[in-house]
């Protein structure tokens, strides 16, 4: 066996010879190739040389294995990934100061919103009392339009007061700044 390339009609058998040796050739084709090899010295030699190389590769190529402690080290790494992050002393102090500052700012905003709501409710109540007095002055005129001007006016005043109180309560709970008052 001198040349690894088969020539002439034998060249067509080269891939088949490899697969025959590797046991990957379909049985029908394997029979045909066997028939050829039995009568062809060149292909027989080629196949022997190929088998010799194959045997050397089986023996000589490294067969590395994972070390026995691989699983332990993998699970240690996974455990480290799932462990909560522990802050160092210095960064922990800074983070705590930052958190305290944020909490103080939030408390201040809530207090401002509450004061704003009270201020707005007082102002609106004063406006309503003034409106009530104005309407009472004009009651003579209104009496000619509606039957009971007094009761109509009272219902209106109570409705508006309830609406203002509800809005102020919502603003305080949501921490929404009221008009004219910064957070």
């Amino acid at each position: 066996m001198n040349d690894p390339t088969l020539i002439g009609p034998c060249a067509d058998y080269e891939h088949d010879l490899v697969e025959l040796h590797d046991g990957a050739l379909p049985p029908e084709r394997a029979r045909a190739v066997h028939l050829h090899v039995d009568h062809c010295e060149r292909c027989r030699d080629w196949m022997q040389a190929f088998a010799a190389l194959d045997a050397r590769l089986v023996v000589d190529l490294p067969q590395p294995r994972l070390p026995a402690d691989f699983d332990v080290r993998l699970h240690e790494r996974l455990a480290a990934l799932t462990r909560p992050v522990v802050r160092s002393d210095q960064s922990g102090t800074l983070e705590r100061e930052h958190d305290a500052l944020l909490a103080a700012l939030r408390r201040g905003a809530r207090r401002n919103a509450l004061l704003g709501a009270i201020g707005w409710a007082t102002a609106m109540a004063c406006a309503l009392i003034m409106a009530r007095n104005l309407i009472r002055e004009a009651s003579g005129t209104l009496a000619t339009v509606a039957g009971s001007t007094e009761s109509l006016m009272m219902f209106g005043v109570v409705g508006v007061a309830v609406a203002i109180a509800g809005w102020a309560l919502w603003a305080v709970r949501a921490g929404t700044p009221l008009p004219g008052l910064a957070r």
């Binding site: 066996m1 001198n2 040349d3 690894p4 390339t5 080269e14 891939h15 490899v18 697969e19 590797d22 046991g23 990957a24 040389a49 190929f50 190389l53 194959d54 050397r56 590769l57 089986v58 023996v59 000589d60 190529l61 490294p62 067969q63 590395p64 294995r65 994972l66 070390p67 691989f70 699983d71 080290r73 993998l74 790494r77 996974l78 990934l81």
Partner: protein
Amino acid sequence: MDAGIEQHLAEGRHARAFDLVVPAYKDRVFRLAWSILKDRAAAEDATQETLVRVWKALPGFDGRAALGTWIYAITRNTCLMELRRRRPTVSFDDPDSTEAQHAAANIATGPAGDPERDNLLRLVETLPQNQQEAVRLFYLEDRSYDAVAEQLGMPLGTVKNLLHRARKRLMELARPDEVKAA
């Protein structure tokens, strides 16, 4: 084995599924990584990195590809990143280069004092990278074309061609005197 893993995945038991993935795939992932990286320590690191990535990504595995195909793709990507990281230092001429050291370490893993064996391993190193990977993996995977095709993510015909060309080249290189005489 994969059916059991997929059952756990379908029912949202990802940790249990991962516990089955590790024994089922760690050796095959390691052999694939070794065939690409040619270095035992680097292959071990790549195997660990691959399994950590699998652990992180397992809840998002949608089953569109086979589990093995998915894991081998992650392995190949992990190895390619390692090769890219090494690239600036790659030099086959410089005996101190990382690549040369890996090749030397690779040869040194077998019994010492066998010049024929060392010569054959050096010849394997001269093959194109894709042929080297196919040859190493083929002989690690009990000479299975299917295993090589699955792990390298290549069609079966491509793998057969790669192996044929690689071994024919090795036959040629292993007998230079006889080829010259012919």
